[in-house]
Subunit: 194 residues, 2 copies
DNA sequence: GTTTTTGAACTGACCAGTCAGTCTTAAAAG
DNA sequence: CTTTTAAGACTGACTGGTCAGTTCAAAAAC
């Protein structure tokens, strides 16, 4: 990667970060391109040099963010027996949310919204993330390691949702509480199920 | 109630309904007052005759919607022993979400957003709803009916969140599946915990 | 020499909020 | 019962401002 590419990557990264924070706080429509450029400390022209439109910037952002999450999920469960794999998923999710708090908040806000231009994108990405969880749970059921009356589909979305809500709730309403604490409580809850 | 009052109540109700649907689909900022007026079949001026501003309309909407939810929660747990009370809460929440699907979707999208004018309002209302759940769980722990290593605060927000996410996910992505099905699966999951 | 960034000016669509005027309803006056 | 009055409810064209997206010449980085 030469200097030019690196510089450009860096600009795009700064734009992603600025956009994700602002959109998490205010939502997509309330966030202006001028705001994003200002926070990323670039000129407005640079935004449009790097992205086709505000919407395109947001879509790439979604793809990028959920890609990272799915990677983390896959890495977390690799070679683990089902029960531990589920716990590992929770941990990976919390870890991810801690690192990318703004993105998590944004996901929570946009994931179940209909009628927006990027809804299609988001649906695919959601399937990717929840699908990974569902695979793990299914493997556990098949191996007889998890109860076979478990509704895999509901369990997967419940797992995904409970992590997201509890973690974001913690970030927004009691940010001083150490994450280990929240993680322990949540794992305690989930362990009773699996 | 005379004809005038009835007429006005009716207009306000129609505005609430139009607003809640549009905001659930598109978000607050992306929803225009013209849209709301159009869907409610009134003139734009009528919106401002009945509400001080777009934000005020939304705030009253939130108060109204969460008020109903809290009422349902309180009614559901009345005189029930702790374990059954928790199950009753889940049922009440699902029932509520089925009836006011758009409002639930809206809540899920806006509840954890920061930096918006109505955030204060929302925080209070959230405390009201989750607080009711926390009371019930706490009563269960005190009575020795629920395990005393349960983190009440986390458990309450987890309960609230899991219901919201699972139900909205169901409404958005598999609306044909009967609710009893979802309710059974969810109760199955939660029963393992409590 | 080429790519990337800058910054400021500009356009046109869109949108929250306003207001002078119209319609509706209840009740008072005849 | 019919007409008048007045407040209440509603209307929609209009205004002032905002914002996505464009343009471009000049500068900086490589």
């Amino acid at each position: 990667m030469d200097g030019r590419t690196r510089r450009r990557e860096d600009t795009r990264q700064r734009l992603f970060e600025a956009a994700v924070e602002l959109i998490a706080e205010q939502g997509f429509s309330a966030t202006t391109v001028d705001d994003i450029a200002l926070r990323a400390k670039v000129a407005k022209g640079t935004v449009y040099y790097n992205f086709a439109s505000k919407t395109a910037l947001f879509e790439e952002l979604l793809r990028h963010g959920i890609g990272l999450l799915t990677d983390d999920f896959r890495a977390a469960v690799r070679d683990l027996p089902p029960r531990e794999a589920v716990a590992a998923l929770i941990r990976a999710q919390l870890e991810y949310i801690r690192r990318y708090r703004a993105f998590a908040q944004l996901l929570l806000s946009e994931m179940w919204r209909t009628n927006r231009e990027w809804q299609q994108t988001l649906m695919l990405l959601r399937e990717q993330a929840i699908g990974t969880i569902a695979e793990t749970v299914q493997a556990g059921v098949d191996a007889g390691d998890l109860p076979d009356d478990l509704d895999v589909r509901v369990a997967a979305s419940a797992l995904f949702g409970v992590g997201l809500v509890v973690a974001v709730d913690w970030l927004v309403f009691q940010p001083d509480r150490p994450i280990e604490d929240v993680e322990r409580s949540l794992l305690g809850l989930v362990r009773r199920v699996v």
